[in-house]
Symmetry: C2
Subunit: 341 residues, 2 copies
DNA sequence: ACTGGCACTCGCCACCGTTGAGTGCCAAGC
DNA sequence: GCTTGGCACTCAACGGTGGCGAGTGCCAGT
């Protein structure tokens, strides 16, 4: 078992290493932190910590650096979440207020988070799957061509072209529009398929094929667009990574471009409740390109339920308390903004 | 004046340097290219080229590398546009077909262009300013709350919430919707303000404030959203830049995140006609961060007029003929895709 | 006008000894 | 039984040195 002091040593190592980016030795440790013991003692503790796999030395006779396992212990037991300063909180509010539409909210959030943490920010668009239908609109563009517009309670709008098998008159169209809305407005996406199931039957025989196409397009939109979008920013911060560049950031940039990977990453981070913060460190990330990075993510939403995730991607050697504080604070404010609009 | 052979030497230098990324000397040149003269002669030519500012040496007794001015001459007079192979053209078509909506088209284009050129791709969304109105829709979300949906002929959809000063009945709403559409559908954005100018007057006095709000919101949307969006991709290709990393790619990544800068960059590239290809080399780019990069851009559009730009950003040391070929080919295919939809 | 020859420059690399931070171990002390 | 000071050892980093070779500029000869 690790004594209290050994944990303290680990904490000190993590803090120093995060600050200096250089392996930290026993002497420097005792000087910077009042551990109350001599370097020799610290050396013994370090030997134990190394044996247990929490720290490692890059090469013989260099200082120690934390391993992924060491960071994990640090995050789980040694570090809290550093709350933001009043000034920072004010900055967030100023930055986020004044967003005009959903794109703008997400865009501002990404920039804000990147700036605040000095890392790469990832913000998922509010997901459709948990939201409800605010309105469905059908527009006739040409005799046999419709446009379906779906509006969600998070302010998102999706549109689809529909080519009908046969021309579709204005009256049945208005009829369909009205009935469709009366059935699905305010309902959750997941419930929609069931709610429109028998809608086609109440139409004239000649119109049924067209109605069927409309309905299936609607369902398709609901399913397809549950596939989520996201926005990233602050990639320039990657250049602060290390000194051995191309090898380090190449795979990260590649991973960041594969939005599918990122979405999976955010999606998997669901432990400890929907709104809980998740920290995945180094090799805990399934994607190989992100094995040298940590991902801090948290759910956010307009209500008490999370509708999407946001987070940052940075080197495993990051300021976890600060980053977690910033991520959590931003998520809260974004939630507020969404709830207001 | 530069003799024919000197130009040939410059061309050879550019080609070799682009291939090897290393300064090229007189001996290597005569070996790889059949210039028909000895290294000594080439050395004399090089001395002249250097005096004229087309090439430079990184340090005494190293080979020469082209300067921005040298690349400029190469692009203007020595290099053509390399057409794509049949296989590449087929790949483009396969890749671009099957896009379901505008976002998808743009997204695929970015990935395609990045892959094809192995550089950073930038694609501007089809601009609203030159497009026409396909449909305007007004939805009643709550008694005094409307949603305005604007659909363009390029498939873009913009929406705005409107809070009315007073409740607005279904009938006047339908009326407004019908009249609005009859006036503006098929018209260019620029003409809309004039077309709806006196529309409010034909409504009942009590409804006029609401109508006025709707109209002003519409106009606002037209103006605001003429501010264009773009998508970028292939940033991982930046890691192939040079060996002296952080300094090189940092400013580029920063510039790429400032979409405003990129839009200006694309916007300025309008010489030689709307659809003409523009190449801006090194310091020709106003933005400092892009002083070590070249930008190859071209307009694309569904008709014979360009509605937006796309291009790539890469090191000044790039394969200009190949890049230009790829950019032009992609622009053409995207134009076709847009015209079909 | 082109060419071969020649002396010169200078970045690159491999080698080498020095330096210093950091370690592991051990015997003595609290 | 921890803790501590001492000590020998290791090894990355640094700076200097010398040889190598690619590349240049100049000049005299054809």
């Amino acid at each position: 078992m690790l004594s209290e002091r050994r944990l303290e040593v680990l904490r000190a190592i993590v803090q120093d290493y995060v600050g200096t980016e250089e392996p930290v030795g026993s002497k420097a440790l005792t000087e910077r932190h009042k551990l109350g013991v001599s370097p020799a003692t610290v050396r013994n503790d370090m030997a134990v910590l190394e044996e247990e796999g929490f720290i490692a030395q890059p090469h013989t006779s260099a200082g120690r650096i934390p391993t992924d396992k060491g960071y994990r212990l640090f995050v789980d037991r040694l570090a809290g979440v550093k709350p933001l300063s009043a000034a920072e909180r004010r900055a967030i509010q100023n930055f986020l207020d004044g967003a005009v539409d959903l794109d703008d909210v997400v865009g501002r959030t990404v920039r804000l988070l990147a700036q605040l943490t000095r890392q790469v920010a990832v913000v998922q668009y509010p997901s459709l799957s948990r939201s409800t239908v605010r309105h469905v609109e059908l527009l006739s563009l040409a005799p046999a061509r419709l446009m379906l517009v779906l509006i969600t309670d998070t302010g998102r709008v999706e549109q689809r072209m529909i080519d009908c098998p046969a021309p579709f008159g204005e009256n049945p169209l208005a009829d369909l529009r009205a009935r469709l809305n009366s059935r699905v407005v305010g309902r959750r996406f997941a419930d929609v398929p069931q709610l429109v199931q028998d809608l086609a039957e109440s139409f004239d025989l000649e119109d049924r094929p067209a109605v069927a196409v409309v309905l299936s397009t609607l369902l398709e939109t609901l399913v397809e667009e549950t596939e989520e979008r996201l926005m990233i920013g602050g990639t320039a911060n990657l250049t602060r990574f290390g000194h051995d560049f191309p090898l380090t950031i190449r795979p990260v940039l590649e991973a960041l471009e594969e939005h599918v990977v990122l979405l999976k990453l955010l999606g998997e981070a669901k432990e400890s409740g929907g709104m809980g913060m998740t920290v995945r460190i180094g090799h805990e990330n399934a994607h190989e390109g992100l094995n040298a990075t940590s991902v801090v993510s948290v759910g956010y939403g307009s209500g008490d339920e999370a509708v999407a995730k946001l987070g940052v991607v940075g080197p495993t050697r990051m300021d976890y308390p600060g980053t977690m504080g910033a991520v959590r604070a931003v998520a809260r404010y974004v939630g507020q903004i969404l709830a207001e609009s």
